[in-house]
C-alpha cells in the first residue's frame, strides 16, 4: 500500500479530534487564574500533548483548524494569532522523536526537554510571529504589542507547562513500557 509517512489515517483523525478538543478547551473550559476576571488558556497544553504524541504535522494543523474555529464562532478570524497557534503546534512536535511517549517513557529528562521546548516555542510564537504579523497586517503600535506578547508568552508558558506536563505524564502511565514484563522465577 502506498502511503505518505505523515498523512496516515491516524494522523488525519488526530488532527480532527485535536482541533475539536482545542476548540472545546479554548471556548468552554475556563480555568480560574490568580488574576481576577481572567482565565487561563489551557488549549495550548492540550495542543502540546497532541504534538508530542502525534508529531509536528498533526500539531500545526490541529492548532490552525482549532484556533480558526474558535475565532469563527466569535465572528472574525484574527489571522496573526491563528498562525502563531499553528506554529506552536509545529515547533513542539519537532521534539516528538526525542520523547518516546508511546513506550511510556516520560522521566525527568523528557519533562525538562518538553518544557524548554514549549517555553521557546511560545516565545517564538507570541513575541516574534504574532507581533510581527500584527505590525505587518494591522500596523499596531509596537509598545502595545510588547506588553501583549509578553503577557501571552508568560501566561501560555505557565499553563502549558502545568497542563501539558501533567497530561503527558498521565498518558505515559497508560502506555506499557518496552520490556516491562518479567519472567517469574
Amino acid at each position: 500500500m502506498e502511503k505518505k509517512s505523515n498523512i496516515t489515517i491516524k494522523s488525519i483523525v488526530a488532527i480532527g479530534i485535536g482541533a475539536a478538543l482545542f476548540f472545546v478547551a479554548g471556548r468552554f473550559i475556563a480555568l480560574p487564574s490568580p488574576v481576577p476576571n481572567t482565565t487561563m488558556n489551557i488549549q495550548y497544553g492540550i495542543l502540546s500533548v497532541f504534538s508530542i504524541i502525534f508529531g509536528p504535522f498533526v500539531g500545526v494543523l490541529a492548532g490552525f483548524i482549532g484556533h480558526t474555529l474558535i475565532d469563527l464562532t466569535w465572528g472574525s478570524p484574527w489571522w496573526s494569532w491563528i498562525i502563531a497557534s499553528a506554529v506552536f503546534g509545529l515547533i513542539v512536535g519537532l521534539v516528538k522523536k526525542k520523547i518516546d511517549i508511546e513506550n511510556g517513557v516520560f522521566g525527568k529528562k523528557e519533562i525538562i526537554l518538553f518544557n524548554v521546548t514549549q517555553v521557546i516555542a511560545h516565545a517564538i510564537c507570541w513575541i516574534v510571529i504574532a507581533s510581527v504579523l500584527d505590525v505587518v497586517i494591522y500596523q499596531e503600535a509596537f509598545s502595545k504589542l510588547v506588553m501583549q506578547s509578553l503577557t501571552a508568552w508568560a501566561l501560555n508558558s505557565v499553563t502549558t507547562g502545568v497542563v501539558g506536563t501533567a497530561l503527558l505524564f498521565a498518558y505515559a502511565k497508560t502506555r506499557t513500557k518496552a520490556g516491562s514484563l518479567q519472567k517469574e522465577d
Binding site: I9, I12, A19, A20, L21, V24, R27, G75, A141, A170
Partner: protein
C-alpha cells in the same frame, strides 16, 4: 450555548450559493481587507457586506451576541492602542493636527483618531463576510469546499471530523464534569483557588484521555472502510457551480483588485487625507 455561532438554515440567495463559493469569498474578502488600510475601500467593503447580510434573511437576533462581543474586543484594542502609543497616527500620516490636549502625553490628534478609525474599519469590513460564511454554510459541505479549492481531501476530512466531534466532546465534558461534581468535587467559586485548579484537573484528564481513545476507534473504523485508498474521492453534498456562484466570486475578486489598485494609487497602504 446560544453564544456560539452555527449554521442557520434559511431559504435565501446566499444560502443557495455553494459552500466552496462562500469559503472562497470569505478568504479573498478577508485577504483584501488585510492588505489595505485605505478608508474608502474598507468602508465600501463594510457597506457591501451589510447589503449581503440583508440578502441572507438573517436577523439581528442571530448575530447580536457575536457582534457585541466583537465590538467589545475592538474597543479594548482601540483603548490599548491609544494608551500605549497615542502618537502612532502621527508617524503614519506624517502630520500632526492637535485638537485638544488631554493630559501628560495624551491628546486628541486628528491623525491618531483617523488611524484608530481605520483600525476599527479593518475589522468591521471582514465581520459581515465571516458571519455570512459561518451562519449560511452547512458544515457537511465544508470538507467538500476545502477539497474543491485544492486542499487535500484528507485534510478536508480532518476539518469535517473536528466539526463532527465538537458536540460530542462538549457532551463528554459536561458528563464528566457532572459525574465529578456528584462525587463531591466543587468547581464553583466557593472553593479555594488551589483546590479549584486541582478539581479542574479531575475533568481535564478523563476528557483528554478518552479523546485519545476515541482517535483509535475512529481511525480503525476508517481504516476498515478503506479510507484514503484512492487519490480522489467524491462528496455526497457537493453541488455544481451556478451563475450566482461565479458572480459572488467575481465580486470578491473585484474587491481584491480594487484594494490592490488603491495601494498602487496611494503609493502605500494608507489613504492620507492630511496632505
Amino acid at each position: 450555548m446560544s453564544a456560539t455561532l452555527s449554521y442557520i438554515k434559511k431559504n435565501s440567495p446566499i444560502h443557495k450559493l455553494t459552500g466552496s463559493t462562500k469559503f472562497i469569498f470569505f478568504l479573498v474578502w478577508s485577504l483584501a481587507a488585510m492588505i489595505t488600510y485605505d478608508t474608502r475601500v474598507l468602508v465600501g467593503m463594510f457597506l457591501l457586506g451589510v447589503v449581503f447580510f440583508r440578502m441572507s434573511k438573517l436577523t439581528w437576533k442571530d448575530i447580536r451576541f457575536a457582534v457585541l462581543f466583537m465590538v467589545w474586543l475592538i474597543a479594548l484594542n482601540l483603548i490599548a492602542l491609544f494608551l500605549f502609543s497615542p502618537e502612532q497616527g502621527v508617524g503614519i500620516y506624517g502630520t500632526r493636527t492637535e485638537i485638544v490636549h488631554l493630559f501628560w502625553r495624551y491628546s486628541i490628534i486628528a491623525e491618531e483618531m483617523f488611524y484608530l478609525f481605520n483600525f476599527m474599519m479593518k475589522y468591521l469590513a471582514v465581520i459581515p463576510a465571516a458571519l455570512l460564511f459561518i451562519l449560511t454554510t452547512d458544515p457537511s459541505e465544508f470538507a467538500a469546499s476545502l477539497n474543491k479549492i485544492g486542499v487535500s481531501y484528507k485534510v478536508g476530512y480532518s476539518v469535517a471530523i473536528a466539526l463532527r466531534y465538537i458536540p460530542d466532546i462538549q457532551r463528554d465534558f459536561r458528563e464528566i464534569s457532572q459525574a465529578q461534581q456528584a462525587r463531591g468535587i466543587d468547581l464553583s467559586k466557593k472553593d479555594k483557588m488551589v483546590d479549584r485548579l486541582k478539581n479542574s484537573a479531575a475533568i481535564l484528564f478523563p476528557l483528554v484521555l478518552s479523546s485519545l481513545d476515541r482517535i483509535e476507534v475512529i481511525s480503525n473504523a476508517m481504516e476498515l472502510r478503506g479510507f484514503g485508498k484512492n487519490k480522489k474521492r467524491t462528496w455526497i453534498v457537493e453541488r455544481p457551480f451556478k451563475k450566482a456562484d461565479y458572480v459572488a466570486i467575481g465580486i470578491a475578486v473585484c474587491a481584491m483588485v480594487i484594494s490592490m489598485l488603491f495601494i498602487f494609487l496611494n503609493g502605500g497602504r494608507f489613504y492620507n487625507p492630511f496632505v
